[in-house]
């Protein structure tokens, strides 16, 4: 009999905390709901009381590494020119486990040799399994995983180059730490290249 009440005390405690926690937030004049602070609290080790996030009014805070379908990054050049980072090397298409990436490489019509820019680029988003391999193994930081997960639609979702392209500023906003680290690495690489190019004529 006593033990039954011991079990019930757990439910009772949880019930009680549901209200006390709300009240204590109210007394402190803070918002427990619909505020980033409140959502962060509800996903922390100290959470008690109501735990749920009222989607879609509220959304869980996405960690930087959160990944959902890929997109292509372009740098914004002068006069709004889109400088696509992709060189159509095909590594993402080769590493893709469900093989949902299709790339058309551009060939120079006069020489017939490949030009490092894709003519078209398709990703079948219905097949994509969000593994993130393409972003992981891309040597040019050209394909990255997105944060935008609300892409349900009534049609089949085959994205072409136009639909896949997003500016580098967007990428920097969703993954600031990663972007900063990659930019740093790229700059270092370019500096090394420049130094080598400089050293060459000197040696000659």
């Amino acid at each position: 009999m006593v033990k039954a009440f011991l079990g019930l005390s757990v439910t009772w405690k949880r019930f009680w905390e549901t209200y006390t926690d709300d009240i204590s937030w109210m007394v402190r004049g803070k918002k427990r709901y619909n505020s980033p602070e409140g959502i962060a609290h509800r996903s922390s080790k100290d959470t008690k009381g109501i735990f749920t996030i009222q989607y879609p009014e509220e959304q869980l805070l996405q960690p930087e590494e959160f990944r959902y379908v890929p997109f292509l990054v372009y740098d914004e050049g002068e006069e709004g020119k889109k400088e696509v980072r992709c060189t159509s090397c095909g590594i993402c298409a080769k590493v893709c486990p469900p093989q949902c990436i299709w790339i058309v490489r551009t060939n120079d019509p006069s020489t017939g040799r490949p030009v490092p820019v894709p003519t078209d680029f398709y990703i079948d988003m219905d097949i994509c399994m969000n593994c993130g391999f393409c972003a992981e193994y891309c040597p040019f930081d050209a394909i990255k995983m997105d944060h935008d997960f609300d892409i349900a639609s009534y049609e089949r979702n085959v994205y072409n180059l136009n639909k896949l392209l997003k500016p580098a500023s967007y990428y920097n906003s969703i993954r600031p730490e990663n972007a900063a680290r990659e930019d740093e690495a790229r700059r270092a690489k370019e500096a090394l290249k420049a130094a080598k190019a400089e050293a060459k004529p000197a040696a000659a």
């Binding site: 757990v10 922390s44 590494e65 590493v95 486990p97 399994m129 993130g132």
Partner: protein, 581 residues
């Protein structure tokens, strides 16, 4: 990394000079047994050499050599390295190999699987029917000359994707009917599904003959599932009932079958990792762990020190959340709708938050790579793990126990019901918590340590009654032990690189075979991989814990009430993603 298990600890050749030869192929170990002497040799392996637990049995189609092979992995429940023995027969139909069900009853489902997917017929098997594909299915999908609908190429990456990758839908290029194989004279329009006489006939052997002096009543057949709230997915169980008492029971599976093995054989080694996430989808971290350790064995590479710790931390966190969910879902099946399971989900969400922060996804983590992990464990995530492991989870585990353990209804439903004794558990190749609750302290983290588990101080959770109450309580014990391991791992984790290899989208795997196994929360999760030096595996096989454990259900349930069966299914902690593959 654990040293590759040496199999030459026993000299089988000396004992059977006429019927056993050592496997001399490079990269292979073990013994080749003549087909005629298989049962005799297997009995000796079990009785004289003491290999009482047959964990994995799988077929391989060597089409170039025109051979079919059956590979068996036997282990001792006292621990240590295993014994690999195999049978080779000509690849001419009917391919026949004697069944080992009379030696290890636990080989039943795996032989049926080999029959189903590879077309190896097992003579003297008591119930040789298809298990994953449906009765009436034409062909054996794991044979190397079998091609799936929408077949494009033997191996990925497909040539159509680059450099001239004009997008087309698979069904346009390859109309659905064009590469389906129908039996001779088969008319799909006129096809009427055969009634499942075979299935129900297999239940017949349990039917009481009505020779006692009780009232003669008819037995009724009840199909639980494939859509039944208690079957945790699309498992179907055909049950014959005498009133409320079960007189015969057969699990029917395959409703979620997608031929994970075949997909794996088309993939490159790296591409398999995200697919393993989808096996036991509660524990993608454990699945990754099992797969990468197997390939690392083949590649013979060392794992970065920090990565070893990260791996153990992730795998143990995964175990904690799995067992919490287990408890919640068991309660759900017993009728305590929602309250305990939602309490369990709360802690699980917090653990999944960590997975999401480090790997990018809550469930389909895809976090492990050969030689390490994808990315380092960031400091804030490490802090969060510490907060959970040191403060919150121990308290919440205690609270859960306070909440449920003494509950009168729960005790009445679980105590003394469905007792599985140690002998039967071993006989049916049951592994994991269910085996340990039956009194066998067999935990791969101790019995055959992999990764760095030999560095941690923890006890193998074991209980001795083997009833459902013990099965329930042992989950709490395991959570506590996992928290103990986590505490030590968090203290010891060193700084350093998180991967010993350079990132490469294609890895070179030397030719040979490897069987890697880990203690997943559900039992032994094994991966059997054969490499022939090409970018994709020649044979890739998963030995799932849920699938093999389920074999014990049949004999446990005869004579018990159907309502208890619902609890038993929950107790085995089956997950269909892993069971059906």
């Amino acid at each position: 990394m654990a040293a590759p298990a040496s199999t030459q600890t026993v000299d089988l050749v000396a004992k059977f000079p006429d019927s056993v030869t050592a496997d001399a192929r490079p990269g292979y170990t073990g013994f080749i047994v003549k087909k005629e002497n298989l049962v005799e040799v297997a009995t000796a392996i079990r009785d004289e050499f003491g290999y009482d637990l047959l964990t994995a049995a799988t077929g391989v189609d060597y089409i170039a050599e025109n051979k079919m092979e059956m590979v068996y992995h036997a282990y001792k429940t006292t621990g240590g390295a295993g014994l690999i023995f195999r049978v080779q027969v000509d690849r001419v139909d009917p391919v026949e190999i004697p069944s080992l069900v009379s030696v290890w009853a636990g080989v039943d489902f795996q032989e049926r699987e080999a029959y189903d997917l590879l077309g190896i017929r097992f003579t003297n098997h008591p119930d040789l029917r298809r298990i994953l594909m449906w009765e009436g299915y034409e062909g054996h999908p794991l044979r190397k000359d079998w091609k799936e609908p929408f077949f494009e190429e033997e191996a990925k990456p497909f040539k159509s994707r680059w450099p001239d990758g004009q997008h087309t839908f698979a069904e346009n290029k390859n109309p659905f009917r064009d590469n389906l194989n129908f039996p001779e004279g088969f008319d799909p329009e006129a096809y009427k599904p055969e009634n499942e006489d075979d299935l129900y006939a297999s239940l017949e052997r349990f039917r009481s003959k009505g020779d006692d002096d009780r009232l003669k009543t008819d037995h009724i057949v009840v199909n639980m599932g494939p859509h039944h709230p208690s079957t945790h997915g699309v498992l179907r169980v055909a049950v014959t009932l005498d009133g409320e008492t079960i007189t015969g029971l057969k699990p029917v599976m395959g409703y979620l079958h997608r031929n994970h093995d075949k997909i794996g054989e088309r993939n490159t080694y790296l591409q398999i990792i995200p697919y393993t996430d989808r096996l036991d989808y509660f524990n993608s971290m454990s699945n990754n762990f099992g797969y990468v350790t197997t390939i690392e064995k083949l590649m013979n590479i060392k794992v970065a020190e920090r990565a070893e710790y990260i791996r153990v931390i992730m795998a143990e966190l995964s175990r904690v959340q799995n067992h919490l969910i287990f408890i919640g879902m068991l309660m759900n099946d017993l009728g305590t709708m929602y309250t305990p399971s939602l309490y369990a989900f709360e802690e699980r969400e917090l653990i999944l938050d960590i997975f999401e922060a480090v790997s990018g996804a809550r469930m389909m983590c895809n976090y492990f790579r050969f030689g390490g992990v994808v990315r380092d464990l960031p400091d804030f995530a490490l802090q969060k793990i510490k907060d959970l492991v040191l403060e919150r989870l121990p308290a919440k585990t205690d609270e859960m126990e306070r909440f449920l353990n003494e509950n009168e209804v729960l005790v009445a439903r679980l105590k003394g019901i469905h007792v599985l004794n140690a002998e039967d558990a071993i006989k049916y190749s049951v592994t994991g918590p269910v085996l340990r609750a039956a009194g066998v302290p067999y935990d791969l983290r101790r019995a055959d340590p992999y990764s760095i588990y030999d560095r941690f101080d923890f006890d193998v959770a074991v209980r001795h009654n083997g009833d459902m109450m013990d099965n329930y309580l042992i989950r709490f014990d395991e959570i506590r032990q996992s928290l103990r391991i986590l505490e030590q791992a968090l203290k010891q984790i060193p700084e350093g690189p998180f991967n010993s290899q350079k990132p490469a989208y294609q890895v070179r795997v030397p030719a040979g075979e490897a069987y890697g196994r880990i203690e997943s929360p559900k039992g032994e999760l094994g991966f059997y991989v054969i490499s022939n030096g090409k970018p994709n595996p020649y044979r890739y096989h998963v030995r799932p814990a849920s699938f093999v454990n389920l074999q014990a259900v049949e004999s446990m349930c005869i004579g018990t009430k159907i309502a208890d069966f619902v609890a038993l299914l929950a107790m085995f902690d089956i997950v269909m993603g892993e069971l059906d593959r």
